[in-house]
């Protein structure tokens, strides 16, 4: 039963992929039109407008906390002895 469900899920994802590949996205009517995206394109709407500062800030917090991940920063080492 569970195997059938996983098969169904796999098929569903494959159909979505085929849908994208067949170009359904080109007929998709976006509810926010390209000419309405000035505000969204403003740098003040970006979570990563300063990548060097953001990567450093994530490192500074992560070196002193147990949690990690789900924030897009990357780097090795620690320097937290």
């Amino acid at each position: 039963m569970k195997l059938n469900r996983s098969k169904s899920l796999c098929c569903l994802i494959a159909i979505m992929a085929l849908g994208l590949a067949s170009g359904c996205s080109s007929t998709f009517e976006p509810w926010v039109k390209p000419y309405e995206r000035d505000n969204l394109a403003d740098p003040i709407m970006s979570m990563n407008r300063n990548p060097v500062s953001m990567a450093y800030t994530h490192h500074a917090y992560q070196a002193r906390e147990g949690a990690r991940g789900a924030e897009g920063g990357a780097g090795g080492g620690c320097g937290c002895n």
Partner: protein, 405 residues
């Protein structure tokens, strides 16, 4: 008989819940790869903007002083490729409570180099990054691969990422000490345009570690009546594996004037028993075309690892033991401010614009079960294990200049 046993084990693996979940996950990952490959044919995505950043960073607090430069260069090559390189240095002077309790203040330097390439093909963006980090007692390298695709009229962006890292852990003063660790990260992110003023993002990441995960300099303390202080220290022992999951939701909203608010909520859980959550809130305001001001707050809270204890009753009391304050129950609150001054160059100049930025955050850490062993026993406490709880504050500063071209 032996064949029957093997068949029975295979059947059990096929039908057990864990076997089914494993197969399902395998198929999901495979489907995601297929999705990424097919989505290659679909829409959008652009190369990152050409820019160079030069930053001075500083962390001051809890007896630690860490500062140094970071330089980022990014340039497009043609219309399909963008390359980047980052050079980063930490100059560390350490006299934190962990160091003072069991060792002497020290200083060292960490250098991190990374190179990356982004490739745009039929509006699918793929990125590859390689990073190395080097200290006198620690070497690390990692490689990251990511695929990003916009679809559904560019309203949705799907990002998949995978990273693998290897660490070589040494120990100053012990030439024979060498331990290894490896790490794998799986990342999935979706960004969704909700309205012409609002974006939502969801991100999940699974990280698994294997190998030597201790800090070789950290110790646990245990009661010892024969010691002058009433306790002694011994080396920590961590498990050799760790798996963690983190999920975050972010939202950005553009206000009726040129300003925005953003928020983020994140939950975290790992196989060591650490549960954590993080909340962030920020407001960005502009003054004319040239000035950007940002104020923000961040709160982090975590519960301790299962094997953490501030004070053990005897040596080697448990198989796994830690007194690393990052493994304890604590919270921190930070308040931050950023100021950016932006100026445009003339239209026919090679450089398009430049910014001068100052970011500052003040963080307060409050520990619930990590005690200050440096407290004075004659005035601040009477019994071992009843020292005042530890707390400290830190200032994080970044000053940087960015040039866009």
């Amino acid at each position: 008989m032996e064949q029957e046993a093997v068949v029975a084990v295979i059947r059990q693996k096929m039908t057990s819940p864990s076997g089914t979940v494993r197969k399902l996950l395998t198929r999901l990952i495979f489907a995601c790869i297929i999705l990424g490959v097919f989505a290659w044919q679909a829409l959008a995505a652009v190369l990152p903007q050409d820019r160079s950043d030069a930053m001075y960073h500083s962390y001051q607090g809890g007896g630690m002083s860490i500062d140094g430069p970071s330089i980022l260069l990014r340039k497009k090559i043609g219309n399909h490729v963008s390359v980047s390189a980052n050079y980063y240095v930490d100059t560390i002077s350490g006299a934190s409570i962990d160091v003072l309790a069991t060792a002497s203040p020290y200083s060292e330097e960490r250098t991190e180099n990374s190179v990356g390439v982004d490739f745009l093909h039929n509006k699918t963006l793929m990125s590859l990054n390689y990073t190395t980090s080097s200290e006198n007692d620690f070497e690390a390298q990692s490689i990251h691969f990511g695929v990003s695709q916009d679809f559904f009229g560019d309203l949705t962006t799907l990002t998949l990422g995978y990273a693998k890292g290897n660490d070589e852990v040494g120990k100053t003063g012990d030439e024979s000490f060498l331990e290894l660790a490896e790490r794998q990260n799986y990342q999935l992110g979706i960004t969704q345009v909700i309205t012409k003023n609002m974006i939502l993002g969801v991100s999940v990441e699974n990280v698994s570690d294997q190998g030597y995960l201790n800090n070789p300099y950290r110790s646990v303390r245990f009661l010892d009546a024969n010691s002058a202080r009433g306790y002694r220290f011994e080396t920590e022992v961590y498990p050799n594996t760790r798996r963690s999951n983190a999920a975050s939701v972010t939202a950005n909203y553009y206000l009726p004037y040129r300003a925005s608010v953003y928020g983020e909520a994140k939950v975290f859980s790992d196989s060591w028993g650490i549960d954590a959550n993080t909340y962030k809130l920020g407001y960005i305001h502009t003054f004319g075309d040239d000035w950007i001001l940002e104020v923000r707050g961040r709160h982090y809270q975590q519960d301790k690892a299962d094997f953490y204890q501030d004070l053990y009753t005897r040596s080697a009391e448990f198989n796994f033991r830690a007194r690393d304050k990052e493994m304890s129950t604590f919270n921190n609150l930070s308040l931050g401010l950023s100021v950016t001054y932006e100026f445009q160059f003339s239209a026919n100049n090679f450089f398009k614009k430049s910014t001068i930025n100052l970011d500052f955050d003040h963080v307060n850490y409050d520990y619930d079960d990590f005690r200050n062993v440096l407290a004075d026993p004659s005035t601040e406490f009477t019994t071992v294990g009843e020292e005042p709880l530890y707390q400290f504050s830190a200032n994080i500063t970044r000053f940087y200049v960015s040039i866009f071209y």
